[in-house]
Structures are given as C-alpha cells and as structure tokens.
C-alpha cells in the first residue's frame, strides 16, 4: 500500500481495511522521520475482541519512506524488479526488516534475488549466499511472500521479508463454448492468464473472449504440443467432446499440471477414463482427472458452472479442500477475511 504526503492511497494492506486506517496514520510519522519501521498491530479493539466481534491476532507491518527522486535506492530496486518482470522472470525482493545483533545491512535494505537476476545487493556476502541458496525454491513453491529469520555465523539473526513476484498461473482452456466465456472473465478478475484453444474460429473468437490472453484456433491436440504445461498451468477441458478430451487428457496427464478437470457427467467421465485406461494410461494418472469438474455449488448456468470450476482450481492451487470455512476450524486464525 502506498500513502502519499497528501494522503492519497494506492492499494491496501488488508482485504477488510481494518488495519489500513492505522497504517495511513502511521505513514505520516514515517514520512516526517524518514526512517523505516516495523510496527505490530493488534486486530480490532480490545473490547470488541474480548466478545469475539473482531478478528483475533496481530499483524506486523513494515513502513518505509520512499522519495520520488530516482536516486532513491528503493526506486532503483523497483526499477530492476520491473525489468525482470518485463523479461518474464520470477524473483523475490528481499528486505531486511529486523533481527538481533549486528545486522548484515541497514533495516529497509533490499536485494533482488532470482534465478537469473544475481544478488546485486547491499547485504553482506554471508546473507547473499543464504538467499541465493534458499530463495529460488521459495519462488517456485506455492507459498506466497513471507518473513524468514535467518541465523548467521556470528550468532546474530536477521529477519528478511521476501516479497515473491511470480508469473500468474495460466489456465489452459480447451473448448470455447458457453462455459469458457465466464471462465475467462473470472480468471481475469482473479489475475490469472488464459489461453483458449478450440478447432472452431466461430467459437474461439476475440469477440467472444475479449479478455483472453491468447486465442488459438486449429487442431487442439497439435496446439497442445506447442504449449507449456507445468505447475502453474491448470488444464480445463470444457469442450465436452471426446475427440478433444481424449488426446488432451493423454497429454496433460504426462505433465506436471496441478489441475486437470473435464466437463461432463459421471457416466461420460467413466467412459472417457476407461478409454484412456484401455490405451495404457495408469490408474495413478487417471486419478488426477477431476470429473465431473468443479465444486458442488449446485448451479447449472454457464456462469455458475464456471464459478464452481474456478473455485475448485483455486482450492487445488492452494492445497485446500474447497469445503466451507464455517464447517471447518482451519479458518479461525491467520486469515484476514
């Protein structure tokens, strides 16, 4: 979240905004002192928390002043980050936000760490080595930005906030029918990229999919060979057509796609899976196919089906079941919603 001297804001810290007002208040002091600071905030007021009306827990927020002048090192590091992003690289911005004992650099110091961007950093070599060793795996993992406390050889520790910049997942959507249209809209809202693949130019058109990042028309199985399937490419089959489902499933099940879902009834799904089984696809691979596709939301319109599919994709990408938070205890703490 950015707060300007005149009080304008851009972005937010929390989704509910309960903390943001206090951040804006603190920002004025940070700007006048020109010193970065980590502040801890309890969520909700004491009385409301006591009777359960406010979210429990606390949140640590790092506030720092940023000068508009280009010479400011923070501007410089964000310029580098922007360049990396433009090149399509994943990376992390490592910021020292605290620790114990002598710190390897001043609080607020930053370094860009990635697979291709070297640690051109103000940190001491020891911390650079640790980051180069450990951060690339974090960039690839499902976990988001986080603070990690690293132990240094002299017995001191340093708290590093790792802000992960990872290319958004790309939904590979095979079939440009009615369900695909709201799917692309929902995906765009969620910040996901989309590729629509279909044999028909009439269905897979820019008019029908103005928000799709790519529209590919041709022989779907042939197009699939030119696409990159990986841990950030959920595969959604909504063609509802065995001639597309069969070859695409064969392809997708040999890849690391985190989600493979196919539209259709249980009966149809069983038949398709049996045909794949007959072709030698293993039970372990077949178990990855989610069919009928989507969570059980009960809707039947194209938009409702699309929502149930997107909900299942999001749940799978986050390693969750997709069940109601109210029916489980997992959402009690640590999630601001």
């Amino acid at each position: 979240m950015f707060v300007s001297e005149s009080g304008d804001i851009f972005g937010s810290v929390t989704i509910g905004g309960c903390v943001d007002a206090r951040v804006i208040e603190e920002a004025a002091e940070i700007m006048s002192s020109s010193q970065p600071r980590l502040i801890n905030m309890e969520l909700g007021d004491d009385e409301a928390r006591e009777i359960g009306l406010a979210c429990a827990g606390s949140v640590g927020i790092f506030l720092e002043p940023i000068a508009v002048q280009s010479a400011d090192p923070i501007n410089r590091i964000y310029d580098q980050a922007r360049e990396e992003w433009k090149k399509g690289n994943n990376f992390a911005l490592a910021t020292i936000i605290g620790g114990s004992g002598p710190l390897p650099a001043a609080i607020g110091s930053r370094a860009l760490v990635g697979k291709t961007a070297g640690p051109d950093s103000p940190f001491r070599d020891e911390l650079n080595g640790i980051l180069a060793r450990e951060v690339p795996a974090l960039i690839d993992s499902a976990a988001g930005s986080q603070t990690i406390s690293y132990q240094l050889e002299d017995g001191s520790s340093v708290d590093v906030y790792l802000e992960i910049f990872r290319r958004p997942s790309t939904l590979l959507i095979f079939g440009a029918g009615a369900v695909a249209v709201p799917l692309v809209t929902l995906a765009a809202t969620l910040g996901l990229r989309t590729v629509i693949i279909d044999a028909s130019p009439r269905f897979a058109s820019r008019d029908r999919f103005p928000e799709a990042d790519q529209i590919r028309v041709g022989i779907p199985s042939e197009i699939a060979e030119t696409l990159e399937f990986g841990p950030s490419t959920p595969v959604i089959l909504v063609a509802h057509d065995y001639k597309i489902d069969l070859p695409i499933l064969k392809k997708a099940l040999t890849t690391g796609a985190p989600y493979v879902g196919m539209l259709g009834s249980r009966k149809r799904g069983r038949t398709i899976l049996q045909m794949l089984r007959d072709d030698g696809i293993s039970e372990q691979q077949l178990a990855r196919v989610r069919t009928p596709i989507g969570l059980d939301l009960g809707g039947s319109s194209a938009a409702e089906v699309a929502l149930s599919i997107m909900a299942e994709v999001i749940a799978v990408m986050h390693g969750r079941s997709g069940s109601s938070l109210s029916a489980s205890r997992s959402g009690e703490a640590g999630t601001l919603r």
Binding site: D198, A199, S200, G218, I219, P220, S221, Y242, K243, I244
Partner: protein, 125 residues
C-alpha cells in the same frame, strides 16, 4: 453392442497413416463447423502424379478418424487423377455400416479435404 462396427472402431483405435509428412506437395485442412472436426491431409506426390505417401491428422470423431485412416490407405499408390475420381460411395462402402445423413459430413470430411487440396495444387501448378 457396438454401433460403429468392428472396422470403424479398429481404424479409430489404430489409425493408419496418422501424423504428418516432412515433405508434402499437398497440405490442406478442412473444418466441419457443425461438429468441430478439423482434419489436415498431407500427400507426398511424385513428379508423375503418384501419391507416394498420405497422412492425416486431427482431433476427430470416431467416424471421421476411421474415414481418414481408410482414405489414406486407399489413395497411397494411386495417381492424383484416380484420387480425384474417387466417389463418396467408395469411402462410405469401406466403412461397412450405414452412415446416417447427420454423420455424412464426418465420414466424407477427409475426402473433401483431399479433393480441395488437389484442386489447389493443380491451380498453383
């Protein structure tokens, strides 16, 4: 019960000449907008007009895929003149079941693609 018949299912499950050629004098695609079948036909043609090799490729329904397989077997070794004179009934007979009117386009998609490809090839020559 198998409504397609053994011959169609055999060619669907084990299509002959499925894939592409490194070098083809004729390469053409045909699309059936009703069912979404899209087929690509490739022919390697000798200077004397003989089809030395034929390939087809596409995400096709059972009938269209079987028909593509049977057709490519049929035309290999024939001259372009002979291929052009192939009647629809020749392919339909080879499928060994009665093709309902609604599925005729599927059964003849590869043949139509091949005819169009030969026509374009002759126009270019």
């Amino acid at each position: 019960m198998n409504p397609y018949g053994d011959r169609i299912l055999d060619h669907f499950r084990h299509p002959r000449n499925y894939g592409s050629l490194d070098e083809a004098q004729i390469r053409t695609e045909e699309f059936n907008p009703l069912c979404g079948d899209r087929v690509r036909i490739e022919l390697a043609v000798a200077p004397d007009g003989t089809v030395n090799a034929a390939r087809f490729q596409g995400d096709l329904c059972i009938i269209a895929k079987a028909a593509g397989s049977i057709l490519t077997e049929l035309v290999t070794g024939q001259t372009l003149n002979e291929v052009e004179s192939l009647r629809d009934s020749k392919i339909l007979d080879q499928l060994k079941i009665e093709i309902r009117p609604a599925r005729l386009k599927c059964a003849l998609l590869a043949l139509v693609a091949m005819r169009n490809g030969i026509k374009a090839h002759r126009a270019e020559a």
